[in-house]
Each structure stands twice: as structure tokens, then as C-alpha cells.
Symmetry: C2
Subunit: 460 residues, 2 copies
């Protein structure tokens, strides 16, 4: 019989990835029909003309077309870098499959980066797996740990929907824990314990805790105190910590800084299994299309890393251009090198502008019927939307999706309904990126605020 929604694997039917859900589908239709659409649904910096890092693109071009090695269009350090990475490619070609965990030279660069960042907590090259963006790393972890509905993972609410989608795909159980909006979306140890105890009562084996820091969609950066609490929590219950740390370069609040969970555990002298994810898609690289990322498996046994290697080898290797971009991200030009000045200037421009935008967006989306925690980090704001009861009544099933669809129709601005991330019942939110260029932001934010005011009036 033909394949249908009914006889397909239900985990696939059920899985939802809100960031590319119904609102985006309608936006693409509208765009195809000639409407101007502003995609604030997804952290896709270069779609808003964020400039790619010149050094990264030079190294990529040289690896793709080594005939350029003779050209004076490229600085010496870019050539040297491309040459070193090509030494790690079979036949010195970027067209060859690599080791399933990734090119050794690049994993060495990643290990050096982590060791330096974590001041003392060493990183082993054999703990690293280069992946096609952070997603496949998360997918391998979820697949490794979840045997069926009796196994669960603790996932924050609001959550980055990757984790809920992956849990659906393996038919696992999502164990929600809530972040505290009133407290700037911070964690509470109490809430973690409550959520864990409830899951255990239902007979669920809690296998891992997922933490996204800096937070997506919520933008909080965890205090070191909170991080210590989380490490203690995982150590106490002997569960894996999945640390989604892809926004580690995106810290905006002056009183915040990034500390990896691995270094916190190291400092506390706690033995823990921590899988840390990173990606070239975020930070100041914004190289989403390259699909480059890594997972560091610290504290896991060799036999478990061997399973991961087998899973990675099923698709042979991650793409080489993504791997090369990971290498450059972890080992950028340093002072004294030919490309340093330009690299540093490009980096600073991007990060400083994002820092300004975080405040602009956070503040603009606070006001009549809108309440926004100004993002301390990451690339999003997640304002709470106070919807008139008449509107909620009219669109009972999914008021915030109705809100986003209407916002799209009236303004062309695409944001993601809070329901896609999860939220306290009876509250409504949407997620927008911080990414439109500064010159366009006032206009875009103005349209959103005007739309909201108008809606409040219409449904008063």
C-alpha cells in the first residue's frame, strides 16, 4: 500500500521543527508571489548581508581550487593554512573522504582552542567528532542514549526545538524543566529536582540534561553559580550533560562571560560525562550554509566513543568545507600574522553591532502589551506577548501562531510562535532574531510594535 501519514513511522510524523514550520511555509509562498518578506525566524546572519570572514573564505577557496596557491590575491597565512589542512586530506584533496571523526589537523586545532579557552582542563583529540553543523552531533547523542519511551531527556522550556524533534524521531520522552522568565530566564536547581523527581515517579530513566548556554530562544547567559548547580545536579543523579554551547562567542551583557561546563566541572573536580556542541553557524562566523560543527565527548568511555565513531562512519565523514571552517574558527589568525588585522576588524565590527542590536531589539519589544528580557547573549529575543482575551478566544487552538501569521500578512516580518519552543500555559511569546542590519531595525521593529498596538485596539 502507498506510504501515508498513517503508516509512516509516527515519530517522523509527530516531529515538529517550529523554526521552519507553518509560518515560514506561508512566508515562502508570499515571497514567491512577490511580497517583501523579512526572515527573522532563523539565525541566518549572512542572509542579512553579515560579511563573511575574509580569511575563512580565502582558505576555503584555496582548498577548493589549489591552482590559486600561485596567485597573489591571497595572503601567505591563508595559503599556509590551506596547505596545512590539505596535508591532512587523502591525496591532498578536499574531494576525498576524511577520517569519520574529521581531519586530524583540524581536530588538533579544535583541541588546542578548547584547552586554551578552558584554562587547564585538557582536551583530547580523540574526544572530538567534527559534524555537519551542531545538529548531527546532537542527533548522534540522542540516538546513543534513548532506547525507547522509557528513556527521557531533560530539556528546558522554552527549548530550542532541535531537541524535541530529535526525541520525537527516536520515540523518547521529553522531560520538561522550566526557565524562570521573571528571573531573566535563569535556571533554578529546585525546578530541576522537581522535574527529575516527577519523571522518576513515572518510571522514566532520565539519561541526560540538555542545557543551552547562552540560551536559545531566551538569551540568558548562566551565572557560574547556576552552572555549578547544574554540574552538581548531573553528578548527583549520574546523568549525561549535553551542553549546547554554540553561542559561546555571543555574549552581550557586560557583567556576563562564557565559561564552558567542562571547565566548571573540572574546577569542581567532578567526574562527569559532558558532550559539548559547537558550530560555525553562529558566533561571528555565521557560516550556516557550510554545515560545520563539532561535539566534544569528555568523560565518556572509549567503548561509547567507539559507538559514536560507528554512527559517524555510516555517513563516512562530515563535509570537508565545514571541517575547514571549524578549523579556522578555532585557530584564527593571531597578532603578527598577515591576516590578523583584517580578521580582528571584521570580528569586532560584527560583534559590536550585534551587541548594540541586542539592546535595541530587547528594549523596542518592551512596552504596551509586550515584555522582553533584554538578551544577555545568543542571537534572539523572546518577548512575551499579552494577547487580548477576544483574540485568544478566537484562535483557541494556537493563538500565538495566529498572531505570527497575521504579523506576517500585515508586515512581512517572519517570527516563530512561542508554542514551538514551549511556554508556561496561558502565556504567549514569539522568537525573533537580532540579525536585521542596524539601519533597517527601527523600521522593522516599528512595524511589529505598530501591528501589536493595532491588534490590541482591534480586540479591545
Amino acid at each position: 500500500m502507498p506510504v501515508t501519514l498513517k503508516n509512516a513511522y509516527q515519530g517522523a510524523v509527530r516531529c515538529e521543527y517550529a523554526v521552519r514550520g507553518r509560518v515560514v511555509a506561508r512566508a515562502m509562498e508570499a515571497e514567491a508571489a512577490g511580497k517583501k518578506v523579512v526572515y527573522c525566524n532563523i539565525g541566518n546572519p549572512q542572509s542579512f548581508n553579515q560579511k563573511p570572514l575574509t580569511f575563512a573564505r580565502q582558505v576555503l577557496a584555496l582548498c577548493a581550487y589549489p591552482a590559486l596557491m600561485g596567485s597573489d590575491l591571497f595572503p601567505r597565512d591563508a595559503k599556509a593554512r590551506a596547505s596545512r589542512y590539505m596535508d591532512g586530506m587523502a591525496g591532498r584533496s578536499s574531494g576525498s573522504y576524511t577520517h569519520s571523526a574529521g581531519i586530524r589537523q583540524i581536530r588538533e586545532d579544535v583541541a588546542a582552542f578548547i584547552t586554551k579557552r578552558d584554562k587547564g582542563a585538557p582536551c583530547n583529540v580523540d574526544d572530538l567528532f567534527l559534524t555537519d553543523g551542531a545538529g548531527p552531533g546532537a542527533q548522534m547523542l540522542v540516538r546513543l542514549l534513548i532506547r525507547g519511551p522509557e528513556d527521557g531527556m531533560m530539556v528546558p522550556v522554552p527549548r530550542y526545538p532541535l531537541y524535541s524533534a530529535l526525541l520525537d524521531l527516536v520515540n523518547g520522552t521529553r522531560v520538561d524543566y522550566f526557565l524562570d522568565e521573571a528571573n531573566g530566564w535563569q535556571f533554578s536547581r529546585e525546578e530541576l529536582e522537581k522535574s527529575y523527581a516527577e519523571a522518576r515517579k513515572k518510571g522514566i530513566n532520565v539519561r541526560a540534561l540538555v542545557v543551552v548556554n547562552p540560551g536559545n530562544p531566551t538569551g540568558q547567559v548562566m551565572s557560574k553559580e547556576s552552572q555549578k548547580g547544574i554540574v552538581e545536579f548531573c553528578a548527583t543523579h549520574d546523568i549525561v550533560l549535553i551542553a549546547d554551547e554554540v553561542y559561546q562567542e555571543n555574549i552581550w551583557a557586560p557583567h556576563r562571560s562564557f565559561t564552558s561546563f567542562k571547565s566548571v566541572a573540572h574546577e569542581m573536580n567532578k567526574k562527569l560525562e559532558i558532550a559539548s556542541l559547537h558550530s560555525v553557524s553562529k558566533g561571528f562566523f555565521g557560516e550556516c550554509g557550510r554545515r560545520g560543527g563539532y561535539v566534544e565527548m569528555s568523560g565518556f568511555s572509549q567503548e561509547v566513543k567507539d559507538i559514536l565513531y560507528k554512527m559517524a562512519s555510516v555517513n563516512l565523514c562530515s563535509n570537508v568545507d565545514g571541517q575547514v571552517t571549524v578549523g579556522v574558527m578555532c585557530n584564527p589568525p593571531i597578532p603578527g600574522e598577515e591576516s590578523y588585522e583584517l580578521f580582528n576588524q571584521e570580528r569586532t565590527e560584527i560583534l559590536e553591532s550585534l551587541r548594540r542590536r541586542a539592546t535595541i531589539v530587547g528594549k523596542a519589544l518592551s512596552g504596551e502589551g509586550l515584555e522582553c528580557v533584554v538578551p544577555e547573549g545568543a542571537l534572539y529575543a523572546f518577548p512575551r506577548v499579552f494577547l487580548p482575551p477576544a483574540f485568544v478566544q478566537k484562535y483557541k487552538a494556537n493563538p500565538d501562531e495566529a498572531y505570527c501569521l497575521e504579523l506576517l500578512d500585515k508586515t512581512g516580518v517572519v517570527v516563530v510562535p512561542g508554542a514551538g519552543f514551549g511556554q508556561v500555559e496561558g502565556t504567549f511569546h514569539f522568537r525573533t532574531t537580532l540579525l536585521p542590519p542596524e539601519k533597517d531595525l527601527p523600521d522593522i521593529l516599528g512595524k511589529v510594535v505598530d501591528f501589536h498596538r493595532d491588534l490590541l485596539r482591534r480586540y479591545a
Copy 2:
């Protein structure tokens, strides 16, 4: 408790991917210790210095570093192509996420390629999903169809181990059907029916038939008669046909040519759900490291394609460099264009050399205690190895793995044991690629044959 082999997901523990199994692990160790190793375990053409197609690499370099658009190092048609593909990228940047099914302009090129190839059977752009190589396409299909151990897929023996590994990962049932070695590894309708009937008797829902044509590891190219039989078989039992057609450009036997299953079904006027896989890793491109491929979902309902789209969107999109390479593969330079002559010359050199190598390898591996069907297509030979009873007795558990390990130790040549692909009980094989350069082949093959003769003598 810590993650272990016992409490991890057993499908992941079980899954085996022989092409990168134990023999390769030992080879990598030997290589790290300074031994010269020849990797014939995997179809990785550029690792043997197969030349990448200049036009493809030029387009990639231009997309990576558009500053090169002003350089006279690039022909006009490469610049035009890069520019057209960049039109399809958000912000005209290869660093942006694309549509989850892939850049529209590239899917249009793929659709035009298929329509031309299949003379009359039209291809719909919306049936196409660009993927990171063919593997993730196969993975999505297996995930879509298999709900649990009660669902099965028919997979040939010998099989490309991707399909068995993916079935393990979703805890599905592999339904074996045997290819006939005595008949040049051809299919038999009778064997298909027998295998299907046995699975049904066990209560298994057979959801799909996997066909690899040209065959891997077996090298047969199906006759049109056989293909018609397979289409009829799938139509009769109303099951999905997964057509792995990644070797469609690799046809060596003069009396054979490639015909897609979709065009056969179209000609027979049979309504069928066919998923056809293709990749830039094989053919004459050999761009394995790029991880580019596509799956064409012909005959499936929109709701099923919507599920596939959701699954694709969980990792947002496939990598852009892989997508661009797919575009160039499907829309190469044509006569009259500036790059045509060079492209055609590079293409012909690669394919003619591979054609010669298919015969050289096939013939060399036939003789005393070795019997090889000369490959009609694809990139491998799969000789039968007659092992002395004393050797089989000594290595009871896995004689052909022991054989390959000893071959590695004595000669440095890495091949894959037949057991990794499946074989008739009591027979032994190995798979080798056809890829070592022609000048090195006699030496490599000589070493293998000498090793075999020596082993026959030692265990006589």
C-alpha cells in the same frame, strides 16, 4: 550511571559499517606507525590522485570567495554559473542556510538533468531533496518507512552495508534476497518472490525493496528485462522501490547502459513509489569530501514529501558546497561553452581509465583459488576467495576477516571482508576498489595474488 555498551541504544551498538570496520582500524594504526598502506576499502577516488573536475572546483572557489569574480584566472562560464547559484542563496552568500530541500536553482538543474536522461518521464522540482551525500537520503527513507522490527526492507546479498546499518539504527528487519554469483550477480524474480513470501510468513510487513544498480559491491549492471521484473515485483506487492543509482555514470561493459528505474516504470506505465539516490562522490566527479547528493521522490504523495521536508529541516539544510557540486554534476558545461573542451577531456580520461582498470582488476583476481566476475559497472570488484579448509578451521568465527587482516599485514593492501556485505554461507569474498592508478595496479594486484598463492601453499 555512566553510558556503557549495555545501556546504550542497542541498535547503535549492533550497527556495523564494514567499509570502515576492524580491518581499516588496524590499517590506520599501521599507517600511524609508519607503514605504507593502500586503501582499497573505500571508493575514494581523489585519495588516489584522481583529478577533480576543474570547472566544478572553479565554481566552488568563486562561491566561497566572490572577490575572485574580478579575476581573469576564471573562465566566464564558471563565473556565470557561480553567479546564478548565488542568486539562489539568501544574501547571495554561500554561508546562508538554504531551503531545507536545497537551493531552487540547483534543484531545477537536477530536474532538467533527470528529465533529459529519462527521455519523457518528467521530473518535478518539488520531488527533489538535496542531501549531504546519498547516505542521509537513504537514512530519511529508512526512518520514514520503518516503525519497528515488524517492518522490513528487502536488501540484496551481497549488500552495500549502508542499508543494513540504517536498518539496525531504526531497529527494523532486514529481509535478504540473494544475487546469483554464477550468473554474474544478476537478480532473479524467483528469488525475490521467495524472500518476500518467507518474510510475510514471519509476519513482517515488507515496506520497500532496495536495489543498487550498477551494483555495489558486485559490479553488475542490470538488464532492462531484470529491471522490468523488479518494477513488476514492486507494483504487484505495492511496496516502495529504493533505487540506489549513484554509479549511473560508471558503466564499463560495452553491452550495458544505464536506465533509471523511474524511466522503466514510466515506459511500463506502472504507478510506483520510487526513491532514486544519486551522489557527487562517484561517477567521474569523485567529490566524496563535499558530501553532495540528492533523492528524487517520484510517485509519493505530498503528505509524505512533507514529512521528508520536516526531517530535512531538523538539520536545516545540506551543505552548500555539496549542493553546488550537485548542480555542476547535473548541468555540466555544454559544447560551445568556454569550459566544455577541458571538462570533456577530464571526464573522458577518468572514465576511460576506470574502464580499463575494471578489466585489469577483474581478470587479475581470477585464477588459482580466486574467481572474479569482471565488473560491468560501479567502482569495485568482489572476487570469491577459495580458502583452504585448514585456514577456515583456524579462523572459524570470521575466516575472511582473518584473511583481510593477514593481507593487510603482509602487503599493506586494505580490502573489506565479504562478511561485511553478506555472502552465501561457506563462500568467502573480499571487496576491493578499482581506484589505484593504472601504473600502480600491476604491483598491487601482484601482491594480492602472491599473498593468496602463498596462503594456499601454507595451508595446503
